[in-house]
């Protein structure tokens, strides 16, 4: 199934646009695309007419242009006939926003859609979904733009069964400066499922990291999914709901009793190198880290900071997340000792965590990060940069970012994300260094690389 016209359309038709109700989902989608995005959009309504001077076409086939993507937001009963129209018009694919299918017990109506789509190999997203969001290009969400916080264009793709969760993740990504290539809500996933999207994003040159919010797989789909994910060559992150058992089943074997659905899911994700996030904060931190570094590490980190307390808390968090903070060799410690300013030389700790104290200057951080970058015992550097240290400048984060690119060893950073320190945060963010808002999240970012197994 070719999804390219569906996800990168030049033209779009919105079916179900109302002449009388501007808050109708179809109207919201039509208006936002017409006013804010480069995609060429046409309105369709069985009654015809004009809307703000533009023609309302009665059918998709009547539009005098080749249509790539059709958004269907009509009553459920007429959706199958609209899909047939799309196929007749040789459209590239459709998003069915309308609800009233399997989720309300109307299996027959949904099966009708599936059989039409399968017969003509026609890509369908939904039904019962928000559809597709492509930054700077188009958006099928029936949520007015002013209610959304929109992430920049970037290299993370997000797929979600739930539209609400997808929007929530997008808001968190926007807040953390994580850019997105595409977001897709698949709703009832009648035709296009997680596996189809995994295969699409695997080959998508605009995507480096693929994330999924999953509720569950159909029979044996989980098996195909993990095998495909392990072979896709890009990090795949999943967040699963339904971790708690829904009611107790009487089981007669120990194995069936211990191997609950979630335990099985979680073990298999890890077996195949799929990175499982436990909650939405991990999801965003993992996406940010893996969009900067598509690589795996064993877990040996160095922590560099100007505060002993930060070093200690970060070390504890590393231990809890399966990362190690190895003691540096005597020669490595001696080298660091000789590199830093005389004023901090004898009050700093170089064991790991490395505490350069509140008297450190930019050059101390630079020299230590450069030296540790060249230490083969360390795979990743966590820099806990405290903006209130009196002798560092606002340039330090940008300088460290460039140093990181020069040396090629991953750095993850922590800076409190408040307006006052924004310049330091951006010094990392704009230079593709993941920067967390909490110590814990910085550890998550390093953990993401430990959990990912590149093939």
């Amino acid at each position: 199934m070719n999804l390219k016209r569906l996800f990168k359309p030049e033209t779009m038709a919105v079916v179900g646009v109302s002449l009388s109700n501007e808050s109708n989902p179809a109207n919201v989608v039509y208006n936002k695309n017409r006013l804010r995005y480069p995609v060429k959009v046409f309105a369709v309504n069985g009654k015809g007419g004009t809307i703000r001077g533009e023609t309302l076409y009665r059918k998709v086939q009547d539009i005098p242009a080749k249509i790539d993507l059709v958004i269907i937001a009509t009553k459920a009963e007429i959706v199958p006939s609209v899909v047939s129209d799309c196929i007749e018009a040789n459209a590239g694919g459709a998003v069915i926003i309308s609800g009233g299918f399997a989720e309300t017990g109307c299996m027959d109506l949904q099966n009708q859609l599936v059989s039409i789509a399968k017969e003509f190999d026609f890509p369908l997203i939904g039904p019962n979904c928000l559809g597709i969001f492509s930054p700077d290009h188009m958006d099928t969400f029936f949520i007015p733009g002013e209610r959304l916080l929109i992430p920049d264009r970037g290299r993370v793709a997000m797929v979600s069964q739930s539209g609400g969760i997808l929007v929530d993740h997008m808001i968190k990504c926007a807040a953390e400066g994580v850019g997105m290539s595409l977001a897709v809500s698949i709703g009832n996933k009648a035709v296009i499922k997680e596996l189809d999207l995994l295969q699409y994003f695997k080959d998508d040159p605009d995507t480096d990291v693929i994330t999924f919010y999953l509720e569950g797989f159909d029979e044996n789909e989980g098996r195909d999914f993990v095998v495909a994910a392990s072979e896709c060559g890009k990090p795949v992150i999943v967040l699963k709901s339904g971790k708690t058992p829904g009611g107790t089943k009487a089981v007669k074997s120990h194995t069936a009793s211990i191997a609950g659905d979630y335990e099985v899911f979680s073990s298999i994700m890890s077996q195949y190198g799929v990175v499982e996030a436990k909650d939405e904060f991990e999801m965003v931190a993992f996406a940010e880290a893996l969009s900067c570094y598509q690589r795996s590490i064993q877990g040996r980190v160095a922590i560099i900071t100007g505060s002993g307390g930060h070093g200690a808390l970060a070390t504890d968090a590393c231990f809890l997340h399966g990362l190690s903070v190895p003691v540096l060799s005597q020669s490595a410690q001696a080298e660091l000792h000789s590199l830093v300013s005389p004023t901090i030389r004898d009050i700093s700790s170089f064991v790991n965590p490395i505490d350069l104290t509140g008297s450190a200057v930019d050059d101390d951080f630079m020299a230590v990060v450069r030296s540790v970058s060249r230490n083969d015992d360390i795979e990743c550097i966590i820099v806990l940069l405290l903006p209130y240290l009196p002798r560092i400048t606002m340039d330090l984060s940008a300088q460290l970012s460039l140093l990181c690119q020069q040396e090629g060893k991953p750095i993850v950073a922590y800076i409190p994300h408040v307006d006052k320190y924004k310049m330091l945060v951006e010094g990392f963010m704009l230079n593709k260094i993941p920067v967390a808002d909490s110590i814990e999240d910085a550890i998550h970012m390093a953990e993401a690389m430990r959990r990912y197994k590149s093939c």
């Binding site: 044996n220 191997a259 077996q271």
Partner: protein
């Protein structure tokens, strides 16, 4: 060959919903796994003769289509020292509901593990390795992996148990033969890949391992649809 035997044993067990221990062990042996030397018999004299052959102490277990969990029904006797005790055990077990005979088998010592399989709806056959015995559901020290197991999957299952130091030999005690354990896991994985949808779950519990071998001391195969 293996497939034919699987079919035959499953069709006999279909009605009951689970495969009884003697047949389950036959199947495991055919699949290349190590099981104790055992005899399934309903004749006490035959049981005593066999015990003499394999040497005391021996283990006796009831075989009954009505008893899935044998220890719950007093259907397991360990460390039987002589003919007299074996005769008494036979008499006791013959009163258990559905009695069809007993298994007499060699007593094996070592670390008790559980190896299991569950047919998962989303992922198909899933394999479990854990510390075995009757307390397995309390400690839940287990590793789970999707079958078929690759060699590194089997290795990582062993490495991820909390009890790993026990397997490696803790404070001077003998550990288990990791290569044999790995071989057992891989043989079991190949076997369950032949099961398709007919089996719901399998418990090999305990699998008793020492420094030289891993022996499946008890096996329960639950068929699907019951």
């Amino acid at each position: 060959m293996l497939k034919d035997n699987i079919r035959k044993i499953f069709s006999e067990a279909k009605e009951r919903g689970w495969v009884m221990e003697p047949q389950a062990k036959d199947l495991l042996r055919l699949a290349g796994m190590d099981v104790p030397r055992f005899l399934y018999t309903a004749d006490v004299a035959e049981a005593i003769r066999f015990a003499g052959e394999i040497k005391y102490p021996v283990v006796a277990k009831v075989v009954s289509p009505d008893v899935i969990h044998k220890s719950d029904a007093s259907g397991v006797a360990l460390g039987i020292p002589d003919d007299k005790r074996l005769g008494d055990v036979f008499t006791e077990m013959s009163k258990i509901r559905g009695f069809q005979g007993i298994i007499v088998e060699e007593a094996i010592k070592g670390i008790e593990l559980i190896v299991g399989m569950k047919m998962d709806t989303q992922f198909g056959p899933v394999i479990l390795l854990g510390m075995g015995g009757t307390a397995v559901e309390i400690y839940k020290d287990v590793s789970l992996r999707m079958a078929p197991l690759r060699e590194h999957d089997a290795e990582s299952m062993m490495m991820h148990l909390i009890a790993k130091p026990l397997l490696e030999g803790y404070r001077g005690s003998d550990g288990v033969n990791m290569n044999e354990l790995k071989r057992t896991l891989l043989a079991f994985s190949s076997l369950v890949m032949e099961f398709e949808k007919e089996v719901e779950s399998v418990d090999l519990n305990p699998v008793i391992c020492d420094a030289s071998r891993c022996v499946v001391a008890d096996a329960r195969i639950m068929l699907a649809g019951h």
